[in-house]
């Protein structure tokens, strides 16, 4: 009787979940599965014949210079934005962890870029970076430094995107870290103080180890976000006074170009699947690294 009632309850739960699962499968799982399938075809958007080509798209990708450049740029962008924003957000979160009005104001200020839509922000940053009229070069001129061709210099353009990426993502990491820090029981830190630990020692020995799951979460989600960078690249390479396309070519941009400019859906799907596995790989590495430290 008890077993039957429990089974009925489970069945009811799954029945209620079914619509949500169906929608999720339709908008998430099916497109991924379809992309995986398309990656084995020479599938062009407007073509009568779309032949099965096996691994040809993947083989071609290995020799595609644009893909290699995009992979390199995306990796540099991701590592730099994730590491720099984490390195800034973590100590900042410790400093802002004390409750108070000022802390709330700063949290709001840091979080504003996260909720601001990317397209207007990218356009604003394009102006900030402008060589002749940009705010950044104006600030540099105030301290006697020469102007920098933030967007048009092939060696600097990617770093201009990284600066914007850090600015955009910092608030997100900061807020998550703050939540984590505030959930650390005060008794641990008090005990450390009683043992004579300095602030730095408390951070390294108490706060950071207890924050490890939060740190893992921030690193994983930030890496996924960073690998999916696209909008700002698209906006900042538009027009004649823009970043040189190749200098800031990133994976999603390359996928977009192959899919919607050259209409090579099969090849673009192969790139998208590869990107998925790269991000999955990084995520697993991060899990392993932080979990093994936890275990040790």
């Amino acid at each position: 009787m008890h077993y039957r009632r429990r089974a009925g309850l489970w069945a009811w739960c799954y029945l209620m979940l079914l619509p949500v699962l169906a929608i999720y499968a339709y908008v998430r799982i099916v497109p991924i599965a379809r992309s995986f399938e398309l990656s084995f075809y020479d599938w062009r958007l407007i073509a009568r014949v779309r032949p099965f080509v096996g691994l040809a798209n993947y083989v071609r990708m290995a020799g595609d210079e644009n893909f290699r450049i995009a992979l390199w740029n995306t990796t540099v962008y991701s590592l730099a934005t994730v590491l720099i924003s984490t390195a800034i957000a973590l100590p900042l979160a410790v400093a802002l962890a004390r409750r108070g009005k000022t802390s709330a104001v700063y949290q709001t200020i840091y979080f504003l870029p996260v909720i601001t839509p990317m397209v207007p922000m990218a356009i604003a940053w394009k102006w900030i970076y402008d060589y002749n009229y940009g705010l950044l070069n104006y600030v540099l001129s105030l301290i006697g430094l020469p102007p920098v061709a933030w967007l048009t210099d092939v060696h600097i353009a990617l770093w201009a995107l990284i600066i914007m990426g850090v600015w955009k993502g910092l608030g997100y990491s900061l807020v998550i870290f703050l939540v984590g820090i505030r959930n650390i029981p005060a008794t641990y830190l008090e005990a450390a103080s009683l043992d004579g630990a300095s602030e730095l020692q408390k951070f390294w020995r108490v706060t950071l180890p207890l924050l490890r799951p939060i740190l893992l979460y921030v690193l994983v989600t930030s890496t996924i976000n960073a690998y999916n960078v696209f909008t700002q690249v698209y906006v900042m390479t538009l027009g004649s006074q823009a970043a040189p396309g190749q200098a800031v070519r990133v994976l999603v941009y390359d996928i977009y170009q192959n899919a919607f400019q050259y209409f090579r859906m099969g090849y673009a799907s192969a790139e998208a699947i590869t990107l998925t596995f790269i991000v999955l790989g990084f995520t697993l590495i991060q899990f392993r690294a932080l979990r093994s430290q936890e275990a040790a």
């Binding site: 009568r48 006074q241 396309g245 400019q261």
Partner: protein, 443 residues
């Protein structure tokens, strides 16, 4: 599918001339049912007001016909059409470049023109070249709507006068000398005005297209068609090396342009550059942004004395969707849209050139003489055309990615070997794209 040549000459036949006159004066018989709604998509947002104005006029004599317009940037329009037309959700009428239309045609998504439209296209309002451009395997598709990429040289008369230069350059050596005199550098060594505004940065096929202005003048081509109908690169040669050297030297040796300074139509309109190569729409931009600017427009110079001045022709068409349920009404409107008075209106309202040869440009030239180089170019001009291939956009775009880096690459300055290697690299890439598209051949 290859382009044929089924043009029937340029002369107007009596019946067609009368039909044309009828179309110009008003609108012919009403083929549309009452309450017909025509959906129109354009990749030229600046042209939407023209569509609306023409549609409003058309609706006066066709009260049952209503219109729904959608405009977005050209690239987005290409993407939306590419997704919508094959799935039966596209508009009744759309304007698009042949790079996209050729695929639609190849896959039966655009049908051959109905006999009356076919006869109209071939009846004289368009030149042989234009008719051929819209002819595939002996059948015509769509009607020519605007000249997409016919570029000329805009020159700032005030700056030329100040620099003591009497006339615009007619050859590249003259152009370089003039640009050196026109460029302005401030006390800190920063360029405050470029001698010429080249396309040096950003992304997309436009960079490749601007490189072509120099390449074609120097005697090369982006891609060349073989007698068997295949294609291969046409710039792994002296012309290609000369064109790249020109750009590298312009930036790194002569310092007549710099990626850091303002560029393009805005720069010319605001006086931030003395020379610009661009299409006729820039005239409209200048009229709206700086109508007092004293400037002239002439063809892009010849590579050297004795060589021809070159001009790109790339008519864009307006098409009726093969799956439209209002084809008769759509074709009737397209014919009206592209008639001679509306062609003049297109140019007057937007600056884009109508590709018809029977337009009386006098009213336009009286108001804006700068259009003359576009609408009545000198007789010695030699034309080159945009290849009708989908892969061509990829060729230009991927080349553009390499060009922007090459222009500022210090290892190319004064180093012909490195320039040759860079050109060879780009040529190999071009041939590979053509091979992937199964279009490559040398015989």
């Amino acid at each position: 599918m290859t382009r044929g040549s089924s043009s029937r000459g340029n002369g107007l036949r009596r019946r067609e001339a009368l039909a044309l006159a009828g179309a110009a004066a008003g609108v012919a018989a009403l083929p549309a049912n009452a309450d017909t709604k025509l959906t129109i998509w354009t990749g030229y947002p600046e042209i939407q007001p023209l569509y609306q104005a023409v549609a409003a006029d058309y609706a006066k004599s066709h009260p049952g016909v209503t219109f729904d317009f959608f405009s977005t940037s050209l690239r987005e329009a290409e993407q939306k059409l590419t997704a919508a037309v094959p799935t039966g959700t596209g508009p009744d009428i759309f304007d698009i470049g042949t790079n996209i239309s050729v695929n639609f045609i190849d896959n039966g998504l655009i049908e051959p023109n109905p006999p009356d439209i076919d006869a109209h296209l071939k009846s004289g309002p368009y030149g042989k070249f234009t008719v051929d451009f819209f002819t595939l395997d002996g059948k015509t598709f769509g009607l020519p709507f605007l000249e997409g990429s016919r570029a000329c040289m805009f020159w700032n008369k005030t700056y030329f006068q100040q620099a003591g230069i009497a006339a615009p350059p007619t050859t590249f050596p003259e152009l370089i000398d003039d640009a050196k005199k026109l460029v302005q550098i401030d006390a800190q060594g920063r360029m405050t005005r470029s001698g010429i505004s080249l396309r040096l940065s950003g992304q997309g096929s436009g960079i490749g297209e601007k490189f072509r202005y120099v390449l074609e003048a120097a005697g090369g081509s982006m891609i060349v068609r073989t007698p068997s109908g295949k294609w291969h690169n046409g710039f792994d040669n002296q012309a290609g090396r000369d064109a790249l050297t020109f750009y590298v030297d312009a930036v790194q040796t002569w310092h007549i342009d710099d990626p850091k300074v303002p560029h393009d139509a805005d720069a010319f309109a605001s006086g931030a550059t003395a020379i610009l190569w661009r299409e006729s729409w820039v005239i409209g931009e200048i009229q709206s942004k700086n109508p007092k600017l004293d400037y002239g427009v002439v063809p892009i110079p010849a590579w050297r004395a004795g060589m021809p001045r070159m001009m790109l022709l790339q008519p864009e068409g307006v098409y009726v969707n093969g799956q439209s349920s209002n084809k008769a009404a759509a074709w009737d409107f397209v014919k009206y849209l592209t008639n001679a008075p509306n062609g003049l209106r297109l140019t007057e309202m937007t600056g884009w050139l109508a590709p018809r040869q029977d337009i009386d440009w006098k009213p336009l030239l009286a108001k804006t003489p700068q259009f003359e180089a576009f609408v009545a170019p000198p007789a010695d001009i030699k034309y080159y055309v945009e290849p009708v291939l989908t892969a061509f956009d990829e060729v230009e775009s991927k080349m553009a990615d390499r060009l922007t880096s090459a222009y500022v690459d210090p290892t190319l300055k004064g180093n012909p070997q490195n320039v040759a290697a860079k050109i060879h690299e780009m040529a190999e890439q071009t041939d590979q794209i053509l091979k992937d598209a199964k279009l490559y051949g040398t015989g």
